[in-house]
Amino acid sequence: MNRAAIKQKLAAIPAEAVIETDYDRKGFTLDVQVAPAQLVAAVSVLDAAGFFIEAVTGVDWLGEQAALRKEAQAKIAAEAKARAEAAAAAGEEPPPAAPPAEQGELPEDALEAVYDFNHYEELCRVTVRTRVPRSKPEVPSISEIYPGANWHERETHDFFGIIFAGHPYLVPLLLPEDADYHPLLKDFRP
């Protein structure tokens, strides 16, 4: 199974994005972003193509939306400033102030589940990502397809509190059996 064929099949799922990354720079070949509902379909494609599972993990993007908004506001402010300066240099009236950037409620930050796959015969590392809201982090389990994902998902549930729906035995693996905290969340305080 070559890279282009896999890329095509994943794009047909439909995945939100299938990006061919620069392997030398990033260390993986394909970066696939899917909605949680399409995850099982994407993983089934990889299973049929003979990929093996490397790991499952998560990333907590707490504060990402605030940072994005700040960036957008800074950009608007910089543009307005540039326009005003250009107008002043040309001796014109300064243009009216730009409308204030969007305030309102921030969209919710996301938890990202990251799945790494690799192939025994061909150099092709595929990273599958799916994002879920922090308040309701639920992702379908892939342990039916890859029994090896069972432990990886338990570990990810330990660390991030991501719930893998359909997992047969989602109890703490590395943390104590009564652990009700998720230490890799950015707002975790011991």
């Binding site: 990033k26 990929f51 093996f52 599972i53 790991a55 790494d116 025994y120 590392r125 590395l174």
Partner: protein
């Protein structure tokens, strides 16, 4: 079925193996459901020495995490050093001088031999043979002395730096390593005569604990476990890093998938590692061992980066997510034995208890690396 057994559940009993048990090599507990001498269900219970290295990574600078890498797989610490410095070098775009790459390969391969020797001794000990351990430790001691002279420590090495290595080697190290290669080559036939050809060992290992190639794929097994099941997968060949492409070495692959195959893979790998070290010492270029102008405070560009290396137990991968600051935003450590052990529950179903222990030994477990 006896007259007293009302249901199938009454036919079985639960046996607790570990967490303090010599066969589990550290603190691993396995909850076994037994039907007499046969295993019905095995559930490894992990986490007894979980230290949350991944969170520690988020709380210290890129360089401050280096010593942690030597404390996961304490038997092949240099490979863990290598994986971590490689991913940070990839993220920050640091080039490594050639001599430093050679030193990395020489020391990491020496470390691999020492890890395989310890495994060899401990594995035979699991099977009830005591003396091979003493021979293996005798040889391993030479490696520890050699590595101590260049890295400064005997077990939890922290020798690699971003952009090179901490210390250059001297003539004593080169001479000592060459003498050691000669010595170990002389000893390998003795190991094979003493242990490999032993009829008791063969009976304990041949056709015991079969792991199919498909099972390896479904559980993500790598390293000698998958190579003992006929899968030719070695990160050094598959995804060449450092200067491994410069060397001529083979990847031992055995088709049988039993414990004996995994034993033979590791024994053959010792010779292949010696070949790599020999070639590296012959070709060793002159030059600096550290890149100039490695920034004191690293701030890799935003994004995520992955790098895998081949440790004595399989593919160790590090995924870092950088937010452009001086600490990692996220650091994921993919340890090989975690995946290798995850297939134990399925592989040992229906086996005799002593055979399952032979299978467990042949997986070469290092618990701090599983628990991280």
């Amino acid at each position: 079925m006896s007259a007293f057994a009302g249901s199938e559940a009454n036919e079985t009993f639960v046996l607790n193996l570990g967490p303090q048990h010599p066969a589990t090599h550290g603190v691993l507990r396995v909850k076994l459901t037994m039907d007499g001498e046969y295993i019905v269900e095995a559930e490894p219970v992990l986490g007894y020495i979980h230290r949350m290295h991944e969170k520690m990574g988020e709380n210290r600078t890129w360089a401050q995490f280096l010593p942690n890498t030597g404390r996961m797989d304490y038997l092949h610490a240099l490979a863990y050093n290598h994986g971590y410095v490689s991913v940070v070098e990839r993220a920050a775009g640091i080039a490594v001088p050639e001599r430093a790459e050679y030193l990395r390969v020489i020391t990491a391969e020496l470390n691999r031999v020492s890890s395989h020797l310890l495994w060899f001794g401990a594995f035979i000990l699991d099977l009830g043979g005591f003396s091979p351990l003493l021979y293996a430790f005798d040889d391993r001691e030479h490696i520890l002395d050699l590595l101590e002279s260049v890295t400064g420590s005997r077990l939890t090495y922290c020798y690699f730096r971003f952009g090179g290595v901490y210390n250059d080697i001297d003539d004593n190290f080169v001479a000592g390593t060459q003498a050691f290669i000669k010595r170990l080559r002389g000893r390998m036939p003795m190991y094979h005569n003493l242990v490999t050809k032993n009829i008791i060992l063969m009976t304990r290992l041949k056709e015991i604990g079969p792991i199919s190639a498909e099972m390896c794929r479904k559980y993500g097994a790598t390293g000698p476990v998958c190579r003992g099941s006929g899968i030719n997968f070695d990160v050094r060949k598959h995804e060449p890093y450092s200067i491994y492409p410069e060397f001529d070495f083979d990847v031992p692959v055995y088709e049988q998938g039993d414990s004996m195959a995994r034993y033979m893979v590791r024994m053959d790998e010792i010779e292949q590692s010696l070949r790599i070290i020999e070639q590296a010492l012959d070709k060793l270029p002159e030059g600096p061992v550290m890149a100039d102008k490695v920034p004191k405070i690293l701030k890799p560009a935003k994004g995520d980066y992955y790098h895998a290396v081949e440790t004595a137990r399989g593919s160790f991968g590090v995924r870092v997510v950088s937010d452009g600051s001086n600490t990692p935003y996220r650091l994921k450590l993919r340890s090989p034995t975690f995946s290798n052990l995850s297939l134990f529950g399925e592989a040992c179903r229906g086996m005799l208890l002593p055979d399952a222990l032979a299978l467990m030994g042949s997986l070469d477990l290092v618990i701090p690396e599983i628990d991280r």
